[in-house]
């Protein structure tokens, strides 16, 4: 049976065993790490329990843990009380994020009205994140909701003295922002905030202090960046720090946009590339001609494909979990076939037909590939494997691949 190739951007079929998640998941993914703010989920206990884990890390999360009575008669009184208590327990918070869930959406709670009321009373900003789980095709809808809710927080500010940038759509998985900051600081560029990998509530208000926005994940944050451009004249630049050629090109673009001396930029690139090549040279022949299957979220598909290409891999197939057409256009040149929203059976069928030498997939699905005996690398990575961005990240990525590919366990499987 041939592999079924699905177009992107369609809603998933019921019973198709999708890996996609809900809008609330997406909103939590983006907004979860914002500090100096109270995060409050208005919904049953489960949503609060699961939402506390964002990118593999436990975050501070309040919940209203609705019970049957509140579902029937309305939970706004409980929510009002809960918000006041949350502010009393976190007196240093400058504002609050108020998440709606499926239940809230269905019983039709007026969160915006309540938010205005508490705003007046507590003199703190309350951001309503309207993210009932069913209100979109996948978590991508939640990313969009989250960024839209952040937009009204940003206020006009005078520009900073030093060349300053914001990193937009950079989620700081395993400290990726640290490596990006290191490179930019070597060029004398300051990073104002990492949205939303490492940011505070008050920093979002002052986003317009920067001279330039660097846009990392285009599919989640492009709308936000272009809105900032429209409102505050803050230009944005799409960059990627995955893979050597992409980092070099991105650094050059940043240097040009901020008017840095090109000798400085070229010097940095040459110096770092030499060091990187020295570290990874001996491993490159291990990767030559190895066949990879990639099943990932969305935005990382293109950059990862490029990075694998640079190392000598052949990407025999790629599947996005919730990719947009832009993600697919970016990934198309690198992969044998490209599909969207594979079910569990389709993933297994692809494995059995293609027999890849390496599988790169997300944290949930990696175990399926492992169980069927394929060397598997999960991506986004765990913290201990270090960041995969920038030059140091490239070295980390190579070492992760070497560890996976050389593990004797894959050769031991037959008795």
């Amino acid at each position: 049976m041939p592999l079924r190739i699905k177009p992107c951007g369609l809603a998933s079929e019921p019973g198709g065993m999708t890996q996609r998640s809900c809008v609330y998941f997406g909103a939590r993914y983006v907004l979860g790490p914002i500090r100096e703010a109270v995060h409050l989920v208005h919904g049953p206990v489960g949503c609060g329990y699961y939402g506390a884990m964002v990118r593999g890390e436990a975050k501070d999360l309040f919940g209203t843990a609705l019970t049957a009575g509140e579902i029937i008669f309305g939970g706004l009184d409980k929510l009002r009380k809960a918000l006041r208590e949350a502010f009393a327990l976190r007196p240093s918070a400058r504002g609050a994020f108020l998440y709606a869930t499926c239940t809230t959406g269905l019983i039709g709670e007026d969160l915006a009205g309540l938010a205005r009321e508490i705003e007046r009373e507590s003199r703190r900003r309350i951001v309503v994140v309207d993210c009932p789980g069913f209100s979109g095709k996948s978590q991508a809808g939640g990313h969009a909701v989250a960024y839209r809710s952040l937009l009204n927080l940003v206020r006009p500010f005078s520009k900073a003295e030093h060349p300053t940038v914001n990193l937009i759509g950079e989620y700081n998985v395993a400290g990726e922002a640290r490596e990006i900051k290191r490179l930019l600081e070597k060029l004398g560029v300051k990073v104002h905030t990492v949205l939303t990998g490492d940011t505070r509530f008050s920093e979002i208000e002052r986003l317009s202090r920067a001279h330039l926005n660097l846009l990392f994940c285009g599919s989640t944050a492009r709308e936000f960046a272009s809105a900032l451009k429209e409102r505050f004249g803050l230009p944005y630049l799409k960059v990627s720090f995955y893979g050597l050629s992409a980092v070099g090109a991105s650094l050059r673009k940043v240097g040009e946009a901020l008017g840095l001396s090109s000798a400085k930029v070229e010097g940095l690139i040459r110096e770092e590339e030499t060091r990187t090549f020295r570290e990874i040279r001996s491993w490159l022949k291990l990767f030559e001609g190895k066949r990879v299957l990639v099943v990932l979220g969305a935005g990382r598909l293109g950059p990862l494909g490029r990075m694998l290409r640079e190392l000598g891999f052949e990407v025999i197939g790629a599947a996005s979990v919730f990719g947009s057409s832009e993600d697919h256009r970016e990934a198309a040149p690198f992969s044998g076939f490209l599909t969207d929203d594979p079910g569990d059976d389709e993933f297994e069928r692809a494995l059995s037909m293609l027999k890849p030498d390496l599988v790169i997939t997300n944290a949930r699905e990696q175990w399926r590939a492992v169980k069927l005996g394929f060397p598997t690398l999960s991506f986004p990575q765990e913290r201990r494997r270090g960041p995969y961005t920038g030059y140091q990240g490239f070295v980390n990525f190579v070492y992760s691949l070497v560890r996976v590919l050389r593990a004797p366990v894959w050769r031991l499987k037959a008795l």
Partner: protein, 490 residues
């Protein structure tokens, strides 16, 4: 703070005099306003120690051979749970979703269920589909039974009557706002038996067990005990070979189903069983009680077999019901556990211990730590449960302790108490790591969920051998932490 530790009945010496001196907390710690500490007086819930009902129903379903849970709700209700299973077991968990979008919210989930069931049956050919409802489908008021009947009618029209024999269906109503994962498992146990079990009139000698949230290693330990006893036992919702199975390589048939799990026929024959045992009163008790009401199968709702007393109770009951004596090999195992307890009593005696867990785990662990001579101080029962609270009171009265029981509270209140009165050891799940680091008290992981340690799911804590390992884990934590420089152990 409350001096909850009663005077130990040893002349002249109180526990406080024996203790290592408490260190003050880190200076950054700002105590919350005291009126907001008790969870009962708060509207806001912080760090709940329980999760949603569908999770429990999915756990139960994944313990059935070639069964797929079908979640009638939004995609997140599935993905979050899959993520939790992956983290805890490091195994794939196939869970299907009805993919609720805006149209389902407006028009109801009828179309989603009909199409979803058809897709699942055609593509995965499961032996059983458990339809698990969620908050959203319950709020909309989906009539699952009639939707399912319609779906079956349509499939019969399309594929012929033989399609109806292919797959069995069970419907479990699990709105998260009415309980927690414990209640979800409980309901699943009842609904599975309700939908599948039959009484053929030919009584068998088989004993049935509903384990609750026991891990694969625990289930294997139970099977080992029953094998030694020589009783024919069936464990319902047996996740031991579905959520912990070997690296298989490419299977012959795709989609891949793990081998093992309870067969559908075992559920069907449950009506003829000699007896049914619920090993967790709160997770599975309802199933056992239903079977005894409906099919007159004697039901025994016992505490989880952790520690000496609880395991004794289980084995004695099994022995009485089956008429088989407890063999020498099991007495030997029991002796080894007692020996280990005697060997290590100097480390465990009079150590204060705080416990956090699901009701059955918390109650059973309380008895075990009391048997070890430890003093339970603050016990957080994640899901509100009167039976667990009663059991804990019973144990503590026996041993003359007066712990603070936080029944159905959240971790915030428990942590506040621990910060004011540090215990020597914490027994709890992986979500207690932060408090353990903050107050610098070792954490012994047990219960659900444990995702930050390798091999927890394979190492039993039930039975005598499991008790010995659990004891070793507790003592090693104490050794590492309270006697780090003691060279006599090295």
């Amino acid at each position: 703070m409350i001096n909850h530790v009663s005077e130990i009945p040893i002349e002249g010496i109180t526990y406080k005099q024996l203790r290592i001196e408490k260190k003050p907390l880190t200076p950054e710690y700002v105590p919350p306003p005291p009126e907001l500490v008790p969870a009962a007086k708060r509207a806001v819930c912080i760090d709940p120690s329980r999760t949603c009902m569908p999770f429990g129903a999915m756990w139960a379903t994944l313990g059935v051979h070639r069964a797929i849970p079908f979640v009638q709700g939004a995609q997140g209700c599935t993905t979050y749970v899959r993520y939790t299973f992956s983290r805890v077991f490091r195994e794939p968990a196939s869970i299907a979703t009805a993919s609720f979008h805006e149209d389902a919210a407006v028009f109801g989930g009828r179309k989603n269920l009909i199409r979803g069931v058809r897709n699942l049956v055609c593509r995965y050919k499961p032996e059983l589909i458990a339809i698990v409802t969620t908050c959203s489908s319950e709020v909309i008021g989906d009539d699952i039974q009639s939707f399912l009947a319609e779906a079956l009618d349509l499939m019969e029209e399309e594929f012929g009557p033989e399609v109806l024999d292919l797959t069995k269906f069970v419907v479990v109503n699990t709105p998260s706002f009415a309980g927690s994962h414990v209640e979800g498992y409980n309901r699943a146990a009842r609904e599975f038996l309700k939908a599948l079990s039959r009484k053929s009139g030919q009584p068998s000698e088989d004993l049935y067990f509903i384990p609750g949230f026991l891990m694969p290693g625990d289930l294997r330990e139970l099977k080992h005990l029953f094998e030694l006893m020589g009783v024919s036992s069936h464990i319902l919702f047996d996740i031991s070979d579905t959520l912990d199975c070997p690296l298989v390589g490419m299977p012959n048939r795709i989609p891949y189903y793990p081998p093992g799990g309870t067969r559908v026929e075992e559920f069907v024959r449950a009506g003829d069983a000699k007896a049914i045992f619920a090993l967790s009163p709160d997770a599975g008790g309802a199933g056992a009680k239903w079977l005894s009401r409906r099919h007159k199968v004697p039901a025994f709702v016992l505490p989880m077999p952790i520690g000496v007393g609880n395991t004794d109770e289980l084995l004695k009951t099994v022995s009485e019901v089956s008429g088989r004596p407890i063999p020498e090999a099991i007495r030997w195992e029991r002796g080894i556990l007692l020996d280990a307890m005697a060997d290590t009593l100097h480390y465990t005696m009079m150590k204060q211990v705080a416990i956090c867990g699901d009701p059955d785990f918390a109650a059973a662990a309380t008895r075990f730590v009391c048997e070890l001579g430890m003093i339970p101080t603050y016990i957080l029962v994640g899901t509100k449960s009167s039976s667990a609270a009663e059991e804990i009171w019973k144990v503590c009265e026996e041993y003359n302790y007066k712990p603070v029981i936080m029944n159905g509270s959240d971790q915030f209140e428990w942590e506040y108490a621990l910060k004011n009165d540090k215990p020597d050891v914490i027994l709890g799940h992986s979500r207690c790591v932060n408090i353990s680091k903050e107050i610098k008290v070792p954490l012994v992981r047990f219960g659900f969920p444990v995702y930050d340690r390798i091999g927890y799911q394979r190492e039993p804590i039930v039975g005598y051998r499991g008790g010995e390992r659990f004891l070793a884990r507790i003592v090693n934590a104490i050794l590492d932490h309270h006697y780090p420089d003691d060279r006599t152990h090295q």
